[in-house]
C-alpha cells in the first residue's frame, strides 16, 4: 500500500472513531440531563417519579428547620406561584430568604422532595447590582 493511501485510511478511521465517541457523548447527555423547571411549570406539569431541577427564589419567612429536615417554599423569580420543598443535607452558606436557589428532586404529593446535598444557592454579591438598589 502506498503511504498516502495509508494515511488517508488512518485519517478516516480516526475521524470516524471521534465521530462515534462524540455521538455517544451527545446522546447520553440528552438522556442523563435533568430538566430545569420553575415552580409554576412544576405545579402545572410534573411527572411523578421523574427528577427535575427546581429554580426560583426562597419565599420570605418560609424557611423552617425541623431536626435534620429543612422545609421552605420556592417561588418563581417573577411571580408568586410557589412549591413547598423538603430538603436534607448541607445548607450552603448564602442560603436565606429571598435568595435564588437551584435544587434537584422529585414531586411527591405536591411537595418537592429534594435530593440530599443538591441545594445550590446563588451568591448574590459578586458582580451584582442588588446591593446598590437596596
Amino acid at each position: 500500500m502506498d503511504p498516502s493511501r495509508k494515511r488517508k485510511i488512518r485519517l478516516v478511521v480516526a475521524l470516524s472513531t471521534a465521530l462515534f465517541l462524540a455521538t455517544a457523548l451527545i446522546y447520553t447527555s440528552f438522556n442523563a440531563s435533568t430538566e430545569a423547571k420553575t415552580p409554576s411549570q412544576l405545579v402545572q406539569d410534573a411527572d411523578s417519579g421523574r427528577s427535575y431541577e427546581l429554580t426560583g427564589k426562597v419565599v420570605e419567612g418560609s424557611v423552617d428547620r425541623q431536626g435534620d429536615e429543612l422545609r421552605f417554599r420556592v417561588r418563581d423569580r417573577e411571580g408568586s406561584a410557589s412549591v413547598p420543598v423538603v430538603y436534607s443535607g448541607v445548607v450552603p452558606d448564602p442560603f436565606r430568604d429571598g435568595r435564588e436557589v437551584i435544587v434537584s428532586g422529585q414531586m411527591r404529593d405536591g411537595t418537592f422532595a429534594a435530593e440530599r446535598d443538591s441545594l445550590v444557592t446563588k451568591c448574590p454579591s459578586k458582580f451584582t447590582k442588588d446591593r446598590q438598589e437596596s
Binding site: 465517541l21 462524540a22 457523548l25 451527545i26 447520553t28 447527555s29 440528552f30 442523563a32 440531563s33 435533568t34 430538566e35 430545569a36 431541577e53 429554580t55 420570605e60 428547620r65 431536626g67 435534620d68 443535607g89 448541607v90 445548607v91 450552603p92 452558606d93 448564602p94 436565606r96 435564588e100 437551584i102 434537584s104 446535598d117 445550590v120 444557592t121 446563588k122 451568591c123 448574590p124 454579591s125 459578586k126 458582580f127 451584582t128 447590582k129 442588588d130 446591593r131 446598590q132 437596596s134
Partner: protein
Amino acid sequence: MAGVGSACLFVGLLTAVYAVGAALYGALAGQRRFVVSARRAMYCLAGLMIAAVVLLEAAYLRSDFSFALVQQNSSTDTPLFYKVTAMWSSQAGSLLLWVFLLSVFSALVLRSTRRKHREIVPYATAVLGGIATFFLALTVFVPEAQPFATLGNPPAEGNGLNPLLRHPAMMIHPTMLYSGYVAFSIPFAFAIGALITRNTGADWIRSTRRFALVAWTFLGFGIMLGALWSFSELGWGGYWAWDPVENASLMPWLTGTAFLHSIIVQEKRGMLKVWNVSLIIATFVLALLGTFLVRSGILDSIHAFGESTLGGKFLAFIALVLLGSVALVLSRRQDLRSEGRFDSFASREAMFLLNNLVLVGLCFVIFWGTFFPLISEAVTGTEASVGPPWFNRYTTPLALVLVLLAGIGPAVAWRRITPANLRRALLVPVAVTAVALAAMLALTPAADSVASLIMFSFVAFVLAVVGQEFARGASARRTISGGSWPAALVQLVGRNRRRYGGYIVHVGIALLFLGVAASSAFVEQRDARVSPGQTVEVDGYQITYVRPTADVLNDPSDTGAPITLGAVFDVQKGDERFTIHPSRNYYTAQDDGSKGAIGRFFEGEATSEVDVRWGLGEDFWAAIQPDLRPLEPRIEEANRKFGGAQFTDAQPLIAAALVESYRQDPPPASFRALVSPLVAWIWIGGGVVLLGALTALWPTADARTRRVRSLYAARVGRELSRA
C-alpha cells in the same frame, strides 16, 4: 482623584487605538519608526494602567466612599488585607485588573522581542493593542464597567466585602486566574502575527513559549487555589463541583497543556503546525469565554449571578476573534504544511499527539456539559442540565489514559522506538507497577473502586518512569564528570531544565490524581445533629461534642466577623486524640428593615469556618451550623424593647448578651464530618507541578551567558561606532 483615574482609562484607550494604527501602518508601509512608536505606546499604556490600579487601590485603602466601587464592596471595618482584594471582587474592578495585566505582559513581551522577528512583532503589537482597546472601551463607555464612577453624596460607610470572599486564597486566586487568562493572549497575538506574515516556522513559538508556560502555570495555580478555598472555606467538604465557572477556567488550561506539548513537536520536527495555531486560538478564545461567563449570567453558577449588560458585547468580541482567526488559518493552510512525517505510532511524537487528543477530548466533554443548558434549550426548547455523575463518567476514563500517557511519553524515543529500547525503557516501571498493584490488593481496600485502583497503578507507573529517567540521567552525568549523586542530579536538571522540569510536572500531576482518586472514591461522611456531651462516629473516629463556643469580635480567621458561634469537639481514634473547633461567622446585615435592630446582627451573611486536621494519610474535616431558632423569641423581644434609636449604643451589647446565652444553653447543632483519604496529595501535587513549571521557566545558564555576551557585543559595537 476619580477624575484622574477616568482620564487614565480614556487616555489609555486612545493610546491603545494609536498603537494598533501605528503598528499596522508601520508594517504595511514598511515604516519601522511607526512600529517602534507603537511599541512605546504599549509601554505608555502599561504605565497608565499601573497608575489607574494604584489610584483605585489607594481609594480602597483610605475607604474613600465617593468612589462608587469602594462603597459597594468595602467598608471602614473591612480588614486591611480584604480592602486590597476587594478591588477585583467587583465587575468593573476585575475588568481593570484584566487590562492592567494585559498591558504589563504586553510591555514585557514587546521589550523582550524588540530586536527580534521584525515581521511578526508589528502585527502581534496590533493584536495586543486591539484586545486592550476592547477592554478599555468597556471600562470607558459602559456605565456598570466604569471603575472610577463616583457617588454624589458619599455615605459614611460602605457595604463591606462579601464574607464568602474573605479567605486568604481570594487574594491570589482571582489574580492568578486572570494572569493565566491574560498571558495566553501573548502567544495568541504572536501566532496571529506569524499567520499574517506567513512566518509559520517555530520562531513565534520560541519567543512566546515562555509566556505560554507562565500563563499555564498561573492558570493552574489559580484553579488549585480555588479548589483549596472550596475545600477549606465552604461548608460542603468538596474541592470540585463541575460548576460552570470552574469548568470555564479548566478548559483553557487543558488546551494550553495540549499546546505546551505539541509545540515541542513543531520545534523538533516541524510538524503539527495547523494544530498548534488552532490550539492557541482555542485557548485564547476559551480564556475570553471564561472571563465572559462570570459576568454574563447566562449559565446558573454559584460564581456569577448578577444580570449584566456586558454579555452581548463580550459575545460579539469572542465571535470576532474566533471567526477572524479561523478565516486566517484557512487562508494560510498552504503555508502550514508539515515539514516532517510520522514515522511510527511507537514514537514520542505519536504519544504527544495522543496526549493532545485526550486533552482536547476532555475539553470537549467539559465544554459540552457546561453549555448543555443552552444547547438543550436550543434543540428541545426546554432547559436541562447534566450533573457531576455525567461529567465523572466521561472524564474518569480520559484522566486514566492521560496519566498513563504521562508515564509512557517520557519513556519512548523520538521518531521510532525499537522493541529492545522499549524493553529497556519500560521493564523496571512495569515491574514497579505490578508490585504496587499487588501490594494494594493485599494490604488496602483499593480494589473496592476499580477506577481508583487503575489510577493508583498508573500513578505508580508514572513515578517509576520519571524516577528511572532521573536515575539514568544522573548516573550518566556521574560517569562523565564524577561527583556525588545529588550534585549529578542538580547538574542534570540544570542542563535541561525544560525537559526535567516537565518530568517534575508529570510527577506532580500523578500525585494530584492520586489524591483525587482516593478522596473521591473513599471519602467517609457523617451528618448529624449533636448536643453537648453527645458522641458520633465516622470511619473509626469517635467525635464528642465537648462544649459550645460563642465569641464577639474574636473571629479566629480575622475576617472581621462580629459574631462567631462554634463548638469544640474531642476526636479519638485508637491512640490518636485531638480537638477540632469548627465555627460559623455571622456578619451584621447592612439593611435592618425586616430583621430588626438586634436581629440584623444574626440575620446577615453567615459563613462556615471549617476546621481541618491536615494529614498525609487522611484529612479530618468538620463544619458546624448552629441552630439559632431557639434564640428567635428572645431576639424578637429585644427587637421590640431595644429597637428604638435611643438604644443604638446599647444594641451591640444586647446582641453580645444573646451570644453569651447561646454559649450557656446551646441548642443542638448540625454537624458534618468528613474523613478524606490522601486529599492532601492534591495540594502537594499542585505544589510539585508549580516547582516543575518554575524549573522549566528558570533561565538556563546557556541563555544567560548568551544574553550577557550579546549585551557586551552591542556595547562594543556602539563604542566602536563612536570611536
